[in-house]
Point group: C2
Chain length 198, copies 2
């Protein structure tokens, strides 16, 4: 059974989204076809709008509709501590902890020789330039605990060796509420290594 | 942490889709923001296009971009057997078996007093009118094996009592490849009831 062209195309579009398989894409496409015309137009416009209005903050490369993002515009944030993340979603995850009141720098990726992503493909140069001109005294590197994230953290910390900026890395260990039994060996080894005296 | 308005709106739109929770909606919204402008426009246009071009077949209420759907236009389909389904997706599921060569009638729902959906809210009147004027001799009611689907099947079969049209219902039983142990009681009871002599 072939789909009619307009539905087939919509299924293809939904299938491109991350984590959306063919079956789910079909379900979503049929939902859109069944939705009211206003809802469909609202959905399409939200997509175009997000693409049109949202761009990078000139200072930290977080997403924003303005020149600077909400955080860079916020005078109550501590300019002495800066947290480096791979993506705006990682930034949001940290914001959601409500434990961090410094500024951010979004790299938009991590160094990955396998995928041909070198230091120049992500916002590292911009980070270094920024650090030369602002009051940051501590840099928390919160890249992912993956090979790429670790390589990026190493690269940045090497670049900053010899400067006055203290470089730190998020702690690794057992997730809160997690079960020792189910932790993988690497995580467990890191948890041991990073043990704290009570 | 509040999202910036354009992203927040896109997350809301994605959240309206069936089976898409808040977390997934966030992931999809950020994907769209990161996509190329062309991809975003292509996606938005596919939505508008599907909504604009796709409508119901005048005869069977399947989805189509023409006046009649592919199946109603196909002279090789047997007009003597008609299959009644709740939705275009159910029709596709039956087409995919490649075992049915008759025509269809899509009800676009099932009778559900709980949700205020009576016989007039779905395409039952259109079905009866159609049966008076065509050559259908067997009607296979393939509504879902839910309370609503069963009620709809009962309602239609009562309406056709006394006519020459043979009314049948899809068989219930253990799914092929399924495990007796894990079948629910109702399915198992139906499988027993519908047992076939070998």
């Amino acid at each position: 059974m072939r789909y009619i062209p307009a539905i087939s195309r919509l299924i293809d579009e939904f299938s491109k989204l991350p984590g959306i398989g063919r079956k789910t894409a079909q379900r979503l496409a049929f939902y859109v076809v069944d939705a009211s015309p206003d809802d469909a137009v609202g959905f399409a416009e939200a997509i175009l709008d997000a693409k049109r209005k949202v761009h990078y903050c000139e200072r930290c490369f977080n997403l924003t509709e303005e020149t600077l993002c909400d955080i860079c515009n916020d005078v109550k944030r501590d300019p002495r501590v800066m947290c480096v993340v791979e993506s705006p979603r990682d930034l949001l995850a940290i914001e959601n902890t409500k434990e961090f009141n410094g500024t951010y720098h979004v790299l938009h990726g991590a160094i990955s020789p396998m995928e041909g992503i070198g230091p120049n493909e992500i916002k590292i140069r911009e980070l270094i330039l920024r650090l030369q001109n602002d009051q940051t005294s501590e840099l928390i590197i919160a890249t992912n605990p993956s090979i790429e994230g670790e390589a990026t953290a190493m690269y940045i910390s090497k670049l900053l060796k010899g400067t006055d900026i203290k470089v730190s890395r998020l702690a690794h260990g057992i997730p809160v509420g997690g079960d020792l039994e189910y932790a993988d060996e690497v995580t467990l080894a890191r948890a041991l290594e990073g043990r704290r005296i009570l």
